[in-house]
């Protein structure tokens, strides 16, 4: 009897010990993968405060020996960096506003009305989603070229005024809104547009936020299309300017790091302060049946 109890006690303790070891191992794994994931960012940010001598030396230093802000100042004096910022803001904000509007309207239309051609059009969008973006890039360029849109803001913006992901997401959200609510508004004399702006928009706010943030990040980070549309400094965005700058200032990585840090900062801040929406959007993209 006594013997039995003792055994129970020691296996219990062993269990606790094992659980503790597992927890420690979990943290070790999480932290070490985290460090690996962070290295490029640390390398960039720390490098942006180093002098050119320090950044070029081997073995490398991690913490800058005498940190300086001179690199940031120099980026602005060597490049029309403020202008690149402005271009990136223009080509991110305008398409985002338009996409959020067009996609949420379309999502609402598909979710809450029955009309001739609805299923066909919806199916067409679904099928078109299967076409990888680069497949259409050559004909798309030809179209833009013929329309005289190369080297214009319109040309940069025109490819991102709607999004299939946005239409789907907004449709899913609108489906959860009860029809009774819309009918009640109709009885009160609201127009269909009134319903959209006064009922749907407020009720889908989280989805709209998710869509806004996703679209903005996508536009901010766009590379392939701007590369085709732009070959003048006047229209260059940050994603085009940084690799170019890197090529021209190959012996000044400290300047490249400072420019890169400034290009990355807005999206990272946006992400850190709106994580919930990112997580929801990503999870939604994976959960659709």
């Amino acid at each position: 009897m006594l013997n039995n109890q003792q055994i129970d006690h020691s296996t219990g303790r062993r269990h606790v010990a094992r659980a503790k070891i597992l927890t420690v191992l979990t943290y070790v794994a999480l932290v070490s993968i985290g460090v690996i994931m962070l290295i490029p960012f640390l390398w960039m940010v720390l490098g942006s405060f180093k002098t050119v001598r320090e950044v070029m030396q081997f073995p490398p230093t991690f913490i800058p020996k005498d940190p300086t802000l001179a690199n940031y100042k120099e980026v602005f004096s060597r490049l029309p960096f403020a202008h690149y910022y402005l271009n990136t803001i223009i080509t991110s904000v305008i398409p985002t506003v338009i996409t959020v509007l067009t996609a949420s309207m379309a999502g609402f239309g598909f979710a809450k009305y029955r009309f001739a051609g609805r299923n066909f059009i919806f199916w067409l969008i679904l099928a078109t989603m299967m076409i990888p973006y680069p497949v259409t890039i050559v004909p798309l360029y030809v179209m833009a070229y013929r329309a005289g849109l190369v080297n214009t803001y319109t040309g940069l913006i025109i490819v991102s005024l709607s999004s299939a992901f946005g239409i789907f997401m907004m449709r899913q959200f609108c489906l959860t809104i009860p029809d009774d609510l819309l009918d009640a508004a109709r009885i009160d004399g609201s127009s269909e547009f009134g319903i959209f702006f006064k009922i749907i928009t407020p009720l889908t706010k989280p989805a709209l936020a998710t869509l806004t943030i996703f679209t903005f990040t996508g536009n901010w980070n766009a590379y392939m299309w701007p590369l085709l549309m732009v070959n003048t400094d006047r229209l260059r965005t940050l994603s085009l300017a940084i690799p170019l700058f890197n090529g021209q200032y190959a012996s000044f990585p400290n300047l490249v790091y400072a420019a890169s840090t400034m290009a990355v900062l807005p999206v990272i801040l946006l992400f850190v302060f709106n994580q919930r929406y990112f997580t929801e959007g990503i999870a939604m993209s994976g959960l659709k049946e």
């Binding site: 609402f108 709607s162 690799p243």
Partner: protein, 294 residues
């Protein structure tokens, strides 16, 4: 009366801009692209001839096209298991009762929001032969420095590693959402039957994650097929075309060599490959597990 008309028209007005702007940059160019692939157009002159299937015939004998397909395939074959393993591992680790989940999730997700052009530039410096941190780290283990991006043996692999770094955060979140959707009752039942952690993982978690894995395999395949920025910025398809992927080659053919028709033909082939691969993924991985159905 007006009320009825309004309700008839409203849906079309609602969907029109969104659908138009979407199809205008996807469906319509896709159709035009097919037409373009039967021409020899160079874009600088308005003149072009219909050449029938000649572009497609030429693809069959184009060694660089073959190389680019092989490179793309190799890129995908290394990227997909890497992304799956790391993101699943991270999701499993975060699905335990650890503290600071939000903190770790933030860090793992950061690469996803980083502009690919900037990430490529930073990774170039990490891989740099003379001052790069990677050569420093392997030096600590007594290994000789390498010229990672300028060596046929390591260039594509280096880009794969960066690709994994980019993609694991988002896929980890998808796995995490799927893990949290698995009913506790399965695990409780298994525990009563005396199943340990590995058995539960092997017989409950992994089978139930199969649809999620399928989704990630398909999206990662799509991502691998369209990889371009890294190749364009980090290696320019080199050295010796060892990182020339299909999209990179399409770009070169279209915008360096100005062979729009030929590039369009390659795009059509890329699309067909996408369809076939998605179908194969579906066929082999598609049989989802559903314990509730029984």
């Amino acid at each position: 009366m007006w009320y009825k008309i309004q309700r008839k028209i409203a849906p079309y007005v609602f969907i029109f801009p969104g659908v138009l702007f979407y199809l205008m940059v996807t469906f319509i160019p896709a159709i035009i692209g097919v037409g373009l692939s039967f021409t020899n157009w160079s874009i600088i002159t308005p003149k072009f001839r219909w050449v029938g299937l000649r572009n497609y015939e030429r693809l069959l004998t184009d060694d660089l096209f073959k190389t680019s397909l092989i490179n793309t395939f190799r890129y995908a074959v290394w990227l997909i298991p890497g992304v799956i393993i790391v993101s699943l591992l991270l999701a499993l680790l975060l699905n335990t009762k650890v503290r600071g989940i939000t903190f770790f999730r933030t860090i793992y997700y950061l690469p996803m929001v980083t502009p690919i052009a900037v990430a490529s530039v930073i990774w170039m410096w990490i891989y740099d032969r003379r001052t790069g941190i990677l050569n420093y780290i392997i030096g600590l283990f007594g290994l000789a420095p390498r010229n990672w991006l300028n060596d046929i043996k390591t260039a594509l692999g280096s880009i794969v590693v960066m690709g994994i770094w980019l993609a694991v955060g988002g896929n980890m979140i998808i796995y995490l959402a799927a893990l949290q959707g698995i009913s506790r009752s399965y695990y409780e039942a298994a525990e009563i039957d005396g199943a340990g952690y590995w058995q539960r993982l092997r017989f409950i978690t992994l089978p139930l994650l199969k649809p999620t894995t399928l989704f990630i395999v398909i999206t990662t395949t799509m991502g691998a097929l369209r990889a371009f920025a890294q190749m364009n910025i980090m290696t320019q398809g080199g050295p010796l075309n060892s990182t020339t992927t299909i999209v990179f080659y399409i770009f070169q053919a279209a915008f360096t060599d100005l062979r729009m028709g030929y590039a369009a033909a390659m795009s059509v082939v890329l699309f067909l490959i996408t369809l076939v691969l998605t179908f194969i993924d579906w066929k082999f991985l598609g049989k989802g597990v559903n314990y509730d159905a029984e």
